[in-house]
């Protein structure tokens, strides 16, 4: 039963990244899963409001790696989001995946890509650290500790 579970999962993954130039391997290949995550922080907001998560992702492998999602016990839901300007308006949209080219760096920074963190647990407050598991296609989930900063982004 367990064996069969991987097929729908792989399908779902393939469907989630339409047109992406990524050959997702069926099994984790640690050699190509060398994403270094730095400057990981969360902007705390009060009143149960969604928070933004930021980081810098460096792909030290030889193939493009795609970040396809994230999860955390500190939040009810985590989405990949991007802020953009469209028709003179500022807006943000969910993104299915973010590709990090071999040797390249992608920054999740204010005004651009961010983790949209919804339904924070009470323990998520300025000064704390929260563990968020990043999902890269074809790789084992990668846990990362994010430092929680205050609303102004001060450490």
């Amino acid at each position: 039963m367990k064996k069969h579970a991987s097929l729908p999962a792989a399908l779902a993954l393939a469907l989630a990244i339409p047109g992406a130039a990524i050959a997702a391997p069926a099994r984790a290949q640690p050699h190509d899963c060398r994403v270094r995550v730095e400057h990981a922080w969360v902007r705390w907001l009060p009143a149960g409001l969604p928070m933004g998560g930021y980081m810098s992702l460096h792909n030290g492998g030889t193939r493009t790696v795609a970040l396809t999602g994230a999860r955390s016990t500190g939040f009810d839901g985590v989405m990949l989001h991007r802020s953009m300007r469209r028709g003179g308006l500022d807006t943000m949209q969910p993104v299915a995946a973010v590709s990090i080219p071999a040797g390249g760096t992608v920054r999740f920074a204010p005004g651009g890509y961010h983790l949209m963190l919804m339904g924070a647990a009470a323990a998520v407050k300025p000064g704390a650290r929260v563990r968020i598991e990043l999902r890269f296609a074809g790789c084992a989930p990668q846990p990362v500790l994010f430092r929680v900063r205050d609303a102004s982004g001060r450490p």
Binding site: A47, L49, L89, D90, T91, M92, G111, M118, A151, S152
Partner: protein
């Protein structure tokens, strides 16, 4: 004759635009309406534009379920206010919600307090908010709610700056640097001091 007048006006305009401006942000004096509205503040009290006469006012349209662009802008403004030192007391940042469905005074209160003093949250009925937005030609729209009922709001991120008499003076946006904001606010506030 007409042509001469036109040339004269053009020359005058060119001369004006070459005069050094003391402002680093966009000077909108005489081009935008005075600060005027009827809304509710984050303590649930009715307020109008006149409630803020005597203060230099920064008006920003946003919403609290906006964890990226809005807090980044408010954080910028907070640093600029800190740079002003005691002069910051003469300034108010008005964070006007374009999402009154979710932004109750209580939510707004918690939100603005998280950034510091001198920031006031404003909300109102959809019609009251639309009236202010129209006055400053600010656009906003709502996305489709997802399964959980959450929706995104698109909005223009301009920051309108008014002097202590409620006259529109400067226009900034999220690209404006803290240095530019600090410079112009310092100039504007110190000119109004008796």
């Amino acid at each position: 004759m007409r042509r001469t007048l036109l040339l004269f006006l053009l020359a005058l305009l060119a001369a004006c635009s070459h005069a050094p401006s003391p402002w680093q942000l966009t000077d909108v004096r005489g081009h935008l309406p005075d600060l005027r509205f009827h809304l509710t503040d984050d303590r649930g009290r009715p307020v109008t534009g006149a409630s803020f006469r005597g203060k230099t006012v920064l008006l920003y349209f946003g919403y609290t379920h906006c964890p990226d662009v809005c807090p980044t802008t408010l954080a910028h403004l907070t640093v600029a206010l800190q740079n002003l030192g005691p002069l910051a007391r003469e300034v108010r940042v008005l964070f006007l919600s374009v999402d009154p469905g979710r932004d109750t005074p209580a939510v707004l209160h918690a939100y603005v307090r998280a950034f510091g003093p001198y920031i006031v949250g404003l909300t109102g009925t959809p019609a009251e908010i639309a009236r202010v937005a129209k006055r400053y030609r600010v656009a906003y729209s709502y996305g489709k709610p997802n399964a959980e009922g959450n929706y995104e709001v698109s909005h223009s991120a301009a920051i309108f700056i008014f002097d202590a008499r409620g006259r529109a003076r400067l226009l900034a946006d999220q690209q404006s640097t803290v240095a530019q904001l600090t410079h112009d606010l310092h100039l504007l506030v110190s000119r109004q001091r008796p």
